[in-house]
Symmetry: none
Subunit: 235 residues, 2 copies
Amino acid sequence: MQSNDLKRQEVARVIRTDIQSGTLKLGSRLPGENSLAKRFSVSRGTIRAALEELAQEQLISTQGGVGSFVSFDGHNLDTATGWASALASSGVQMETDILRLECIVDPDLAAQVGTESMSFLAVDRVRHVVDGRAVSLERSRVPATGSIVDAPKAGLVGGSLSATMRQAGLVASRGEQWVAVAPLAATEALILQREVGEMFIHSTRLSFDPEGRFVEKVVSWLDPERFRLHVKFGA
Amino acid sequence: MQSNDLKRQEVARVIRTDIQSGTLKLGSRLPGENSLAKRFSVSRGTIRAALEELAQEQLISTQGGVGSFVSFDGHNLDTATGWASALASSGVQMETDILRLECIVDPDLAAQVGTESMSFLAVDRVRHVVDGRAVSLERSRVPATGSIVDAPKAGLVGGSLSATMRQAGLVASRGEQWVAVAPLAATEALILQREVGEMFIHSTRLSFDPEGRFVEKVVSWLDPERFRLHVKFGA
DNA sequence: CAAAAAAGCTTGACTGTACAGGTTCAGTAC
DNA sequence: GTACTGAACCTGTACAGTCAAGCTTTTTTG
């Protein structure tokens, strides 16, 4: 069977369309897995695979013993338009494109960083040089508290995420960072317009405030030709 | 069923340990899924779930119709403790060759780190796995004070530079590190027996003691397939 | 000897079933 | 009204089997 016409992908495609068209509204519960299995005439395992796909896209989130819920309607999730406008307006040195700026619900992240609220501000940005070559992809997740929740409507303060965070009282004092050199996956390669498998710097950074509260998680892919990492450690 | 004692996680844990202990070597092929299912007395689906977990950790990669292969042995490079001890405590068979162990005079370095004395202990080391493939080149420079000057004659304390430094009262409390991905130059490529231009992790680390005195400078070239960086920052 | 065919592996996708354990809610007892 | 009980849901995990498709090695054929 081809990678194009997998049943799980077909199921995911239909549900994704239902979400984006508004048939399935934000926050509403999806039919149960058994019900979906009957409706699509596939096994429950295939339904679960499709739901997992949608969960990875953060369109839905699943709660054990309860059901799956639409966690985002995906209207502003179109990276294609963001990329197109970026190419059109490219003219000077280095530019930053905001691919995504919205509030999401992410139970997994909440569990990982230990926050009660599952709401986060998601900011995905791509940097590229004048010739159009993308050099970095950064995905930030910030707790959706205080004035942070206004960011999707009002935009970033001065176009800066750190300024927006500072205004909302989110200040990192310590954290951890993991850095590796890894081949680009298909998704990142598509966004960065690079070859799949090209070696990029892969970094994950978790930041916390002095009270140990989660401040920011940044997963980034960086062109090794353009980026250097610099860390200071110790007191 | 708890999230702690899932069969898939137990299987993944065992395989992960085999990889990190060196029982399963980098690049080697894992037994087939059916074979693993028999060995662990679980279904093939559970094996596939475990392998998927390991694949997400980028410890293995799976090739359709062929098998799964160890793509990384998961040793992290700890900048705080020094990666030498980090590697030593791991089970992978790794040998260290000391290329150089002598006192030198380096006015440039003295100016850079602000020491009166221009004498330093130079320690150049290469690490390689048992099959002979070199994976790292590390050039350390330590101020030639106290018992450090005896190192060229007496050797390193317990074969460890950090132990030698500790005995001489050289303890790092803070510092800076720069990390880049860069092509190997001719000199390094020759030493590491790699191709000139092969992309390696290039790291420079400067360490100082609590009084701000210079403790160590380490310039290292690391195989990106084998090393990852992990940094904790802040208080 | 070399090229083609076949056999025997492997992973990938899917099915249908089973049971454990959590959530919800109606019904019942107090 | 409140608290408990239990049925009816739900998802999470695991199992055993099927079929398709790809890779490798062996065998057969020319």
